[in-house]
């Protein structure tokens, strides 16, 4: 295990009642890497994501981000240290405009509180202008310029997924967690997404952890793939190696393979 890992998951276990959702999962994600997290339904991928964004607290184990344990932090502090995520079922603020969605994504980059906001102090205006400028850049970067002022809930699903991505980036994260970004997208959109993911890493220097069922996409963008099954890690390594791992093949195709 490299000491320079951006994210280190150490023996993380999660139980729901009698069910073991995650069993002593350990892996590292290096800075600037794209790590794919695969496994059949119910393998525990989203559970692990929810541990990383502090929605669940593991029963045991440790998670370190930049060498710092994160399990003591509150949920709302995760964005500030540099972890952002998207959601499997798209969790946009439906009544808000696309631009406002992205601005909420930048919440952790702002400071104005109730009093300063109500009085609209000069510092508040400056901050607001900066946040807005940056949000507009992101909106343009993701091709959302035409719908910036439209309520996010009224947009088609594929567009909503792009809004979610722009919103996640607004917090200027070091680690981006993508929960099934390709789900529900057509072939063309998946190709486009692949370019976007690689671009995020190459242009923005971001580290990406990706839960995905779209094997073709995972294998083509990932530097490293971690495979889970029934809450346990069954493989961890470069894509080709994981793809041909007997345990992984068995997990996906059953014992007949």
């Amino acid at each position: 295990m490299s000491p320079s890992a951006l994210l280190r998951v150490e023996k993380v276990s999660v139980r729901f009642g009698g069910i073991i959702a995650l069993n002593e999962i350990s892996f590292d994600v290096g800075r600037g890497q794209i790590c794919g997290l695969i496994g059949p339904n119910g393998a525990g991928k989203t559970t692990l994501f929810n541990c990383l964004s502090r929605l669940y607290t593991p029963h045991s184990g440790q998670i370190q981000f930049e060498g710092r344990p994160i399990l003591k932090l509150a949920r709302h502090e995760i964005a500030r240290i540099g972890i952002a995520r998207t959601f499997q079922n798209v969790a946009l603020f439906g009544a808000m405009s696309v631009l406002d969605n992205v601005l909420v994504g930048a919440h952790s980059r702002g400071r104005q509180g109730f009093g300063a906001a109500a009085l609209r102090l000069p510092a508040t205006r400056r901050e607001e202008a900066q946040l807005r400028e940056r949000a507009l850049q992101l909106v343009a970067e993701f091709g959302l310029g035409d719908c910036a002022n439209i309520a996010a809930g009224q947009l088609p699903f594929g567009t909503q997924k792009r809004v979610e991505l722009a919103r996640a980036l607004a917090s200027e994260p070091k680690l981006l967690l993508l929960d099934e970004p390709a789900a529900g997208l057509n072939h063309e959109e998946v190709e486009h997404l692949r370019g976007e993911i690689l671009g995020l890493r190459d242009r923005h220097g971001m580290t990406i952890l990706l839960v995905e069922h779209h094997m073709n996409l995972v294998m083509r963008v990932s530097d490293q793939v971690v495979a889970l099954n029934f809450g346990a890690k069954i493989a961890d390594g470069p894509p080709q190696q994981v793809q041909s791992h007997p345990e992984v093949i068995r997990a996906y195709l059953g014992d007949a393979a």
Binding site: A74, R75, F87, A91, L92, A95, H107
Partner: protein, 344 residues
């Protein structure tokens, strides 16, 4: 699809005429001219509309923007009103310093009530706040507080006249006094909802989990929102007591709290200016209903609330997003029309 009104997309830029600006200018002129067009009881009612509007803005921040339902904002209106009356009657303070103090008292009370309320969602929160509204008149009547509150007899206050020898009547002065507070508080609310905190409030309403992962401290924002909301109701209550000149436990019944909820829905959830319409509705429509039934003769006399009810239902059918929603839709249509004529 969510039934909540969609957040305001920025108005189409015309570069020609902004109908929003025109509307605002009309409202300002109307508000300034009004006290010279009417007098006495009517003017008192207009001032009361402003006070209700302040309370409605507070409730709308909480319910419309943040998604927390309160059936008990009459209780904060009462706390603000009593705080003001006690400071004037028992501590000899000038009436005009009491609204900020009453607001602060309610901010603290609202924040503290908001903390346990964090554990309650939707209808459960509605019930808890309902309990507050039910309990408040009796608490104010509690005999060990009599020395301060005046018990069931309440407190009488002198009606203030115009200061600095201004050549206006007491009623006109009190109207402007309320108008000043209303203008400040409307502006502050508008600023709040347009900024980072306002976005966080709506984000919590729509997707609390996502909001939290974006870095919004949900508990703090919700409790503060409750506090600010109570502050508005408290200032409204303090102003109201000054212009009424009298306060008693019966001034703040359960019906007041329910009227506030009616007011924000009629005015338009997630609209700040709409609260003026909502306040107008809860102040005047019961009167109109009363006059209407009286004019229809003996048989209809007992039915003013039935008329009120029918009007309310009809309004919700015609303007499902409240009066503000209807006005915005009309303004958007006008804007498109003016843009089209300009291009032609």
């Amino acid at each position: 699809m969510s039934t909540l009104p969609t957040a305001k997309a920025e108005p189409e830029r015309s570069g020609f005429i902004g109908w929003g600006r025109v509307g605002l200018a009309c409202v300002v002129v109307f508000a300034l001219v009004l006290p010279f067009m009417s007098s006495g009881y009517h003017l008192f009612q207009y001032a009361q509309v402003l006070n209700y509007a302040i309370a409605l803005v507070g409730l709308n921040l909480l319910t419309g923007y943040n998604g927390q339902i309160s059936l008990g904002h009459g209780a904060f209106f009462a706390i603000g009103g009593y705080a003001s009356a006690i400071l004037v009657a028992k501590f000899g303070m000038p009436y005009w310093v009491t609204p900020p103090i009453a607001g602060m008292v309610c901010l603290v009370a609202g924040f503290l009530f908001g903390l346990p309320a964090l554990r309650l969602e939707g209808l459960y929160l509605a019930l808890a706040t309902f309990a507050l509204a039910v309990a408040m008149p009796q608490l104010l009547n509690y005999k060990h507080f009599d020395a301060l509150t005046g018990g069931s007899g309440g407190l009488q206050l002198a009606k203030p006249g115009a200061p600095f020898g201004l050549p206006i009547t007491s009623d006109q002065w009190l109207y402007f006094y309320c108008l000043g507070f209303a203008a400040l508080l409307f502006l502050a609310a508008r600023n709040l909802v347009r900024g980072r905190i306002g976005r966080a409030m709506v984000a919590i309403r729509d997707q609390p989990v996502a909001a939290e992962t974006m870095g919004v401290p949900i508990s703090y924002v919700k409790a503060m929102c409750f506090g600010i909301s109570a502050l508005y109701a408290g200032v409204g209550g303090a102003l109201s007591v000054t212009i009424v000149g009298y306060v008693s436990p019966d001034s703040f019944g359960l019906f007041l709290s329910l009227s506030f909820l009616v007011g924000i829905v009629v005015g338009g959830l997630t609209s700040i200016p709409g609260m003026l319409f909502g306040a107008w509705f809860i102040e005047f429509v019961p009167n109109y209903a009363d006059q209407l039934t009286s004019s229809l003769g003996e048989n209809a006399k007992a039915l003013p609330w039935a008329v009120y009810g029918v009007l309310l239902i009809a309004l919700m059918f015609v303007m499902p997003r409240g009066i503000a929603g209807a006005v915005t839709a009309m303004a958007a249509r006008l804007q498109r029309f003016t843009n089209a004529t300009k291009r032609a």
